[in-house]
């Protein structure tokens, strides 16, 4: 594990997820099997056992060598695995810099991404990663090697330029470059170019990708607990507002609620699996919750 990966991979989170994964495997043979609907079948096989041929078995699975030696028909059975290609898109725009807790939004999102990458790699799935703002800043194509995690973390640690968000170019680029269908997980606060997000989502959807949208928001952004004279300076917008925050709180919360409803609606329309994650929530708890929900959907 590289220093970078240590930064984003919290041992406790990994341990809990691993336990969850073991439990989930008993049901759906792998967390990631329940995580997505794999478009590939039988591409990755591992010999499991022989059994006698019965009528209806695929003749292609008859082990002719055994028939040659023993003159009996046996068929080979394989352990079936999905060979998933997971692409993680992490929003690295300026708005992700905000953070009220120990982890800022970006750190939280990167931790989340690294954890998911580790989880996927540990099951032999291919994981790719992309950090973007108004365009793709760093990316690495999906690979299945465990050592590929370092590359993913490297992408996550790529210095960011406090640029505004522009989803569409990044998603379009991704749609064009991803050769095979897979699972695309977008981790963002969705502040900024909201239309671009869902237009990009539509593009990916049309190319057959399974979409997951992890909406990361800070507790402050959801609760707006500020008091006393405060000047809010936009991270992406040039505006600033000097105000008594409590006098604007009601209006702010109403606007946030409207925003969340809009996002949920549009995610549902794009057949995108949407989850809102608060940065105040421990990463592991958020992952467990997310994976549990995915597992229950798969059942």
């Amino acid at each position: 594990m590289t220093p970078g990966s240590r930064r984003y991979l919290h041992p406790e989170a990994i341990a809990r997820i691993a336990r969850l994964e073991l439990r989930a495997r008993a049901v759906v043979e792998g967390v990631l099997a329940g995580l997505h609907r794999s478009p590939y079948k039988g591409q990755s096989v591992e010999f499991l056992q022989h059994r006698e041929y019965v009528r209806g078995d695929d003749l292609r699975r008859v082990d002719w060598k055994v028939w040659g030696r023993q003159d009996r028909l046996y068929v080979k059975e394989f352990e079936e695995e999905t060979n998933l290609r997971v692409t993680l898109l992490v929003d690295g725009s300026a708005s992700m810099n905000y953070g009220s807790g120990p982890l800022g939004k970006y750190e939280y999102a990167a931790t989340l991404a690294a954890s998911l990458a580790w989880l996927a790699l540990s099951h032999g799935d291919a994981v790719g990663c992309c950090q973007f703002d108004d365009k793709v800043r760093a990316s690495v194509p999906p690979r299945t090697k465990r050592s590929h995690l370092a590359s993913v973390v490297e992408v996550l640690e790529t210095p960011r330029n406090a640029r505004p968000t522009s989803f569409l170019p990044a998603l379009r680029s991704l749609a064009e470059t991803l050769p095979r269908r897979g699972l695309v997980m977008v981790i963002s606060d969705l502040l900024g170019d909201r239309d671009g997000v869902f237009q990009g989502m539509q593009l990916l959807r049309k190319r057959g990708h399974d979409l997951v949208l992890l909406h990361v928001m800070d507790d402050d952004e959801l609760d707006f607990p500020f008091e006393g004279p405060t000047r809010f300076e936009g991270l992406e917008l040039p505006d600033s507002i000097a105000c008594n925050p409590r006098s604007l709180r009601a209006g702010y919360l109403a606007a946030v609620e409207e925003f969340l409803v809009d996002v949920r609606t549009r995610a549902a329309a794009a057949r995108c699996d949407y989850s809102l994650i608060r940065t105040g929530e421990p990463v592991d708890a958020a992952l467990v919750k997310f994976l549990s929900r995915r597992a229950s959907m798969a059942v």
Binding site: S95, K105, G228, P229, E233, L235, A242, R246, S247
Partner: protein, 781 residues
Amino acid sequence: MPTFDFLPLLWWGLPLVAAPVVIHLINLLRHRKVPWAAMEFLLASQRKYRTRVLLKQLLLLLLRVAAILGIVLALAQPRWKTALGRMLGGARTAHVVLFDDSYSMGDLSADGRIGDTSCFDRGRLVVERICAELAAAPGQQELAIGRFSAFERTPQKQPISNPPAGEQRTENRIPEAQDAFDFRLQAVTPRLVQEVRDELGGWTASAMAAGPRAAVAAAAGVTGGGSGFMGGGSGAANVIWLVSDFRAKDWKADDETVALLRQLSDAGCELRLVDCGTEAGDGRQPGNLTVERLEMAGGVPATGVLVPLEVAIRNNSDRPVRDVAVELREDALGRPGVRIAEIPAGGVGTQRFDTRFTQSGAHLIEARIATDAVAADNARAMAIDVVDRVDVLLIDGDPTGGARAGDAFYVATALAPGAGAPTGLRPRIEPPRSLATLDLTSFACIWLLDVERLDTPEVAALEAFAKAGGGVVFFTGPRTKAEIVNQSLHRGGEGLFPVPLAGPIDLLPNAAAGAAAAPDVVVEEHPVVAVLSGQRNPLLDAVRIERSMAVERGFEPAAASGLRRLLSLRTGGPLVVERPYGEGMVVAVLSTAAPTWNNWARGNPSWVVVMLELESHLARSRRRAESLEVGDPITVRLEAAVDEIEVDVAVPPDGTLVHQTAVASPTGVLEATLPATSAAGGYTARWRRLDGTERERIFAVNVAANEGQLERIGRERLDRTLAGVAFKYDRAESLQPDTTTQAGVPLAKPLLHLLAAVLIIEQLMAFSASYHATFRGRSPA
């Protein structure tokens, strides 16, 4: 326009009003900077609430400015001039200085000893300082100065409250109130200040016991209701300065003075109480002795007889005094004084002494004690009109008149035993009908001796005599008819005779004999028979009563009738009773004067003693010298067609002559009146008769004894007494005249209420504008 008691505070405090604005501006600079991602929501909220938030913030700012302004104003003690006219009148302030010049202000005590500076001296300095400050004060200052004694003498009685609607205050009353002021209200100029200073130098404490009531009433009359010479749209704010020693006796919570002060305070006058009194260093009241009383203690004011006199000294301190020497003077000549061994704290010590006048006419007796804290009450005078002989009228019921063995003989003999024992009395024996013809006012006492019947005019004359203060003695006897007495003289208690009679009864002989026998006469507790009371008196034991007039069975005197026994029979029945009648006194002896029904008058000395005491007792009311206090007028009554109308009055202490011309009073009596006395002592009035002879009468005028009580009310009691009255209290030594203060309705209290309301609204508004911290909120770092 409002005025401010502490104007400098206002000037210092006004800049603070800008504090909320400054704090607001500082807060703008001190805004915590938060880099914020979700600006679009914040901008949306701001667009939605911008106007409301701005209005709330502005209102909040205004409320905070108003709150600070309110605090500053309240501290500056604003006052609002009550009338619109005052608003238009500009900054004119009328100051009325009421200066206590009662004789207690002459108190020289300081730290338990006699000092050099009196309360009056301190008061003068206070008045001088007020004048000097007024001369230097901004705005138009007006000043009136009056002394308590002048207001006390002024006959004006200004109404306390405003006159009823439609009733105008009479024009001639206001000048009276103004006349009482030594300095009428006028603009303060350097010349006036000099005049006041010159005048103050000649002022001394008066000999009067003037309290603050009359002075405050005069001030209320001229300031209250807006129609006085200070009020009524003159545009002036009124400040009343009360410069006094604040003796406890003058200040009672339910007193009219307090009501007047409350009225003045409510009317917007500013009350400044300046205390010139002396604080006792050891916590004790300052000691002061007062000659409280000097009077005849019985006797007959006639030449050649001993006249008993009594002097009483009150100790107005909280510790007893011993061996008090009283110096006595008779007609300005010294005579042997007396000493009083001890006078308890707060008590009175008395001492009797006798004098014998050799010449008839007016005489003046004076008593004086050594100098103490207050000099004015250390002397007292008493005037006595001494005559050669005092006539006593004896109405003899014996139609033969003056029989040697008759009642009149025995009474006359007792009252005037002869040249060897002069009593000063001259009995005059007359028949009953003379009651209607004689001038009874020339007698002090009338004796009716077993009179069978009196006609209505005679009864009326006798009753008028008694009502006017004369003494009447009835002796009953064989000629007395009970039913006639009851009908014409007792009349169910309405008439003169003290008790209803049932008729004569015999007193059965005493069964016991010798020393064990109870005496027929029992002495009751009464000053007339005091000489016979106590142990058994052999003289009285010798008295035998054979018959007496019984009182109606079942007679119960009314509780308020004042009926009192002097002597009783051994059977329990009354023998001698008295009852007040009008100003006079009536005594009924229910037996004979002559030794007809008893043997008392036959050679028994106690008879003479009791008769003389009885005469003295009954005549006391008539002989009591007219009691005049400083400030009272002196009235000399003259006889028309006998006296000339010009009267000269020698006024103490230096005998300055004041000329008065007599005029007929509304009742037709010719009177020469000295309107008001200003000094204690003997006032000698002299006039001539038409026949050329000279007449003289002396009036003793004394200070009111109660002014000598020097107990001071003190600040705490004064606060309690004047509860609800807005006033400022200063000690004379520490007075800051602060003449820039202008009177008016004090606004501090309503302002504080308003301030509380503003602060409550501010808090509500701040809460509404979300400026209150919450437990879940996060304050700026």
